[in-house]
């Protein structure tokens, strides 16, 4: 079960992220969230990505990854809640509220990805969509514990869980986020985004603390 230590290079001002770090990524601008998310989850040469995409087709995900780093889409296993499955690398689920299937598929994809590489980046985009789709939020927490945070711990992987704070999740989103924040190792909150760049507030990462402007 050993992996090569050394952290995960983000290729951004966020620097290198330690093995096993779980990151809660928040913001109310979905396009900025998307940009930061894919920058963090795209696999380097000796890595694999596993992405759960609640609102996108699998091909959209691999294109986004390729846009960050050439070939990153080929180093990804995708679980998409839109579109169809394709080959061994893209699985599909009809309903983001079917958290049982999402958990089974995500665990299977992580196991498949581990056959390809020891070093994994695992991402959920968007967890707020899971909260909105689930009947019982306890199921989302159980899913995060069992099928997301556990994989990061067991595989010393880096994980990114994105929440659109403008989404209607049927509960006070600020309260949900501040509760979730305590279970994650780091938090990246998008403060401002525009043509000039994206400013994020960071806590829990070794190389950055406080506000930093990302040149994405």
């Amino acid at each position: 079960m050993s992996v090569t230590p050394g952290g995960f290079d983000t290729g951004t001002e966020l620097g290198v992220i330690d093995d096993g770090t779980s990151i809660l990524l928040t913001g109310d601008d979905e396009s900025a969230l998307r940009e930061v998310f894919y920058r963090l989850v795209a696999a380097g040469d000796d890595e694999e990505s596993v992405v759960l995409a609640t609102n996108d087709r699998g091909r959209v995900v691999t294109r986004e990854l390729d846009g960050v780093a050439a070939g990153a889409g080929d180093r990804a296993c995708v679980l998409a809640c839109e579109g169809r499955a394709s080959g061994d690398r893209i699985a599909a689920v009809d309903d983001p509220g079917d958290l049982t299937t999402l958990g089974l598929e995500l665990s299977a994809l992580v196991a498949d990805a581990r056959q390809q590489a020891d070093r994994l980046r695992v991402g959920v985009f968007l967890c707020s969509s899971l909260c909105a789709a689930a009947d019982d939020t306890r199921s989302v927490y159980r899913f995060l514990n069992s099928n997301f945070l556990s994989h990061l711990r067991r595989n010393e992987a880096v994980g990114i869980c994105a929440i659109d704070t403008s989404a209607d999740i049927g509960a006070n989103v600020d309260s949900v986020v501040s509760g979730m924040e305590t279970s994650f190792g780091a938090r990246i909150d998008i403060v401002e985004s525009g043509p000039g760049g994206t400013t994020v507030a960071v806590s829990g990462l070794p190389s950055v603390d406080g506000e930093v402007e990302l040149s994405l």
Partner: protein
């Protein structure tokens, strides 16, 4: 050495292999069943540390077993250990059960199963609530208080009566949040002993810096499907943290009502002061007990 019982369910002939895979870990004690009915009976009879089940069973599916497990022992972890691919699992009636999945087709399937089972048990990794990242030290801080030995019952009974009267609410309580449940030290307006942690609002409230208010439990998706809260008649909630001098949140002081209601900023500040008072009582009683114990040892 403590052993952890793992309930293994598979067809006759295969279940022994599953048990053998787990027996390699001397801390795990596998017991076997071969049907949904037998497994459900075992789950109901006594708690186990983990459940490992095949999907295809003679009288149903592994998810039928998980369904019983979630109803009877919601915080017990479960692994679906099968050669059936996830896409072939029928989840139509089980969309929010959540289990771990290990494929029997993996080249190192038995090693993976033992590794995952041990990890799930060690980290209580399938509970329906989020834990603070300092949970281990928080539980250590909580265990430092000899609650059973402290003469706190009368003090807390008076305090919760006072809280209920002050806010004109149905129920007020002081609760300590243990690893798997919340224990109520005092409860005015109801006769509650303990609740499974994932059924409590306090396990959410303890993660907030400020007093957490849920004006209408039925309008909040975190709690609206929680049958336990409905059964207890909890419709509105306000909870304040009991924080130890070294910063660990070990419990909550709460004000509940059976109808939606708001809590003003001054009321929230009052509740926080009640929580600080409860913590002071606990702290002082513990100091007194420790001093007496030391004196007895010296004598």
């Amino acid at each position: 050495m403590n052993t952890r019982t793992v309930l293994c369910i598979d067809e006759e002939g295969a279940v022994a292999d599953t048990a053998e895979a787990l027996s390699a870990d001397s801390t795990l004690d596998p017991i076997t069943r071969t049907t949904v009915a037998e497994a459900s009976e075992a789950i109901t009879e006594e708690p186990v540390a983990c459940v490992v089940t095949e999907y295809d069973l003679a009288d149903g599916s592994g998810l039928d077993v998980v369904d019983t497990l979630r109803a009877e022992r919601p915080q017990t972890p479960c692994v679906l250990y099968t050669d059936v691919r996830p896409g072939e699992v029928d989840t139509a009636s089980f969309e929010e059960l959540i289990v771990e999945y290990v494929s029997k087709d993996l080249p190192d399937a038995t090693e993976q199963l033992a590794f995952v089972v041990e990890d799930l048990i060690d980290h209580s990794a399938q509970v329906g609530f989020l834990r603070p990242d300092n949970e281990e030290s928080r539980l250590e801080a909580l265990s430092a208080y000899d609650v059973d030995e402290l003469p706190i019952e009368d003090s807390f009974d008076r305090l919760t009566d006072l809280i209920a009267s002050h806010f004109d609410i149905e129920v007020a309580f002081v609760g300590l949040i243990e690893e798997d449940e919340e224990d109520f030290l005092a409860c005015s307006g109801a006769d509650w002993d303990s609740l499974t942690r994932e059924d409590t609002i306090c396990t959410h409230s303890m993660l907030q810096e400020d007093v957490m208010v849920v004006e209408d439990v039925q309008a909040d998706s975190r709690f609206s499907e929680n049958e336990q809260l409905r059964t207890l008649g909890i419709r509105s909630y306000a909870g304040a943290n009991m924080t130890t001098p070294d910063g660990h949140v070990i419990g909550q002081v709460c004000a509940l009502d059976n109808e939606p209601r708001t809590f003003s900023e001054p009321e929230r500040a009052d509740l926080q002061r009640f929580a600080e008072t409860a913590m002071e009582i606990l702290e002082l009683r513990q100091s007194l007990l420790s001093a007496r114990t030391e004196t007895e040892v010296d004598v």
